[in-house]
Point group: C2
Chain length 149, copies 2
């Protein structure tokens, strides 16, 4: 495989390990997703039977290096906004109990070059606020609700 | 004044109120800062004698609408990175006890048009991690340490 999971104890490997701890669900709400290692983690979970859902930004999902097409091809459910504003969140929720959120876009450039933060939060009050936002967006971006005219 | 503080109970007004609760210090670590209302809040605090410090991204501080020049002109201490990667944080710490962080860049476009999150955290463990990161960056971006050659 051209994109092995990182083995050193880097911030990226710690993030991957948190994701791979999912047993039932992984909800992803990501402005930009071009990091191959993180996409591979999502694919691994999908193959293990974990329910992976992804919402993303329509303007960024088609950019060079985007992993969205690959994830869709693998059978992962993806929904995107249909607005001019950005779907600018960058968070993940593991098993509806662990929130991973911060400034970090899931891109190789951000991981390698930027000054970023990622918070891991298991406090139920915070997790619920983000889970509720995820469910709102998931419904709002349901293609059945699209209006083109 | 052309940019009054927002009065309605919007997310922006709640953010402004949190900032204006500062009595001793406001530490700002912001990738992009073009929202006039938030800049005005920082200026108000500075005039009240609150110690306001700001670190920002060198590539974004010169963009159209940036409030950085105005804040510097008002006497607020500003430092910026000198790297090609982005200083991509978007957080504020009020009185070293309240952390405000999330996906939101402090721009009018983000506030008006995007889907964003802002967390307010008073848990000391989280606040300390961000305060430590702020102090590291503040020292690292000290102009006395710049190397141009």
């Amino acid at each position: 495989c051209p994109c092995p999971l990182p083995s050193a104890d880097t911030a990226l490997s710690r993030l991957v390990r948190r994701l791979l701890s999912a047993r039932r669900s992984l909800d992803l709400c990501l402005f930009s997703f071009s990091c191959p290692q993180l996409a591979r983690a999502a694919q691994l979970l999908h193959r293990r039977g974990v329910r992976v859902r992804l919402v993303t930004d329509a303007q960024y999902m088609g950019l060079h290096g985007s992993q969205i097409g690959r994830l869709r091809h693998a059978g992962i459910q993806v929904r995107h906004d249909q607005h001019s504003g950005y779907m600018h969140h960058k968070f993940a929720i593991v098993d509806r109990r662990m929130l991973i959120t911060g400034s970090l876009n899931w891109t190789t450039q951000a991981i390698q070059s930027n000054r970023e933060n990622v918070l891991v939060v298991e406090d139920a009050e915070y997790v619920k606020a983000f889970q509720d936002e995820f469910e709102r967006i998931w419904e709002e971006y349901n293609p059945a609700n699209y209006s083109f005219f």
